[in-house]
Amino acid sequence: MQPGLIDQAALDSLLATTDREFVGELIDAYLEDSPGLIAAMLRALAEANATEFTRAAHSLKSSSASLGAVSLSDLAKELEHLGKDSKLTGAASKLEQLAGLFEQVKTTLEEFKRGS
């Protein structure tokens, strides 16, 4: 697992309080919904819709944190704040970075699910 992408302790604590099957379900939900949120942010950015941008970033921030995707969550949080302050002009490059980071998180989580 790539260091820093996923906080192993967060996943371990999830596993300890639930079970592997449920964590798998959680990962599936996350991998299913997150691309939609990133797309929503791209769309909101194009339409200069700060409210929608903030909401999608907020949502991604919180689910990423739940699965221990700390750096992704932090980046989403930064974007959320840009949205809140209506400073979308500087958001494009950060959003691109976030999309890339998500791909890495996705790979890591898929690996985790397969039990490696």
Partner: protein, 349 residues
Amino acid sequence: MARSPTPSSGHLLVVDDNKVNRLLLGRNLEQQGHSVAFAENGQQALDRLRAESFDLVLLDILMPELDGYQVLERLTKDPELRDIPVIMTSSMDEMDSVVKCIEMGAEDYLSKPPNPVLLKARIGASLEKKWLRDQQRELIRKFATAEVAEELLTTGFELGGKYVDATVMFSDIRSFTSIAEAQSPADTIELLNDYYTLMFEAIGGHGGVVNQMVGDGLMAVFGAPVPSADHAERAVLSALEMLEMVGMFNAEQSARQKVQIQIGVGIASGRVIAGFTGTQNRATYTCVGDTVNLAARLEAQTKLAGHPILIDENTQAGLNGKIRSDELEPVQLRGKSQVVRIFAVPPGQ
């Protein structure tokens, strides 16, 4: 619609636009013994809340359609839904929003992802409060007339005690023990039921709330929990009506060759400590304080004084001369260091 969950488990609605959050919260709550339903946005949440009965809502703030604020605003304005406790779920950096929600009426908040121990404690506390409130509603319905109950339910009533200016009434049946011994248990219970029906009518009709019944005695409060300026007058009018009803009741009893009863009523006005007291298993509306003691002593004094209705100085002043009362010799009452001025209200006015 009314559900009575035990305080430890309930039917909960989790509102969050993020599926990961919903799953995680739902799982935690189910593990703690609750049944959980989900809504993905504010509009769905309101639809579900109107369609079925929930004990608690866990509400996200930022959501599409209707957000958490809008849901909260609609819930607090809806008489059917405003008593459902709402716990906001938020991330750590949303404290400003959380404060705003609590000002709007949310009960508590939880940060996401949830800490199971904290989750359990907060949900438990909220469910217990809700349960106690539900109990109070039920009690209010039993003690008060429909109008009083309705007023209390619309204006809302607070947990916890406060000082209120009120009039307290004690009433009981004279020599009830010997009456009870002279007839069958079935007749005694029937007599008590008839008596209570009549007394409740007379008390409730004047805005009083019966909050204690012990054997043949009852205690009623006027001016609390619903405040009224003329509580002394209401209490005395109600006592007069009680005597009138006992008179009519006795006429019927006599015609059926059954036992007749006499009642004594003591009334005192002043400051009382009033509030809902309770445990998990029982809750009641209670008044305590000197005024309550005085009313009880006056009721006992009716036997000696030979007058069925005795009132204290404050109650007499509260009548503003609208109802006749005659001052008797001041008496030394048990538990009072000084003599007390007492007034008899002649029945049949």
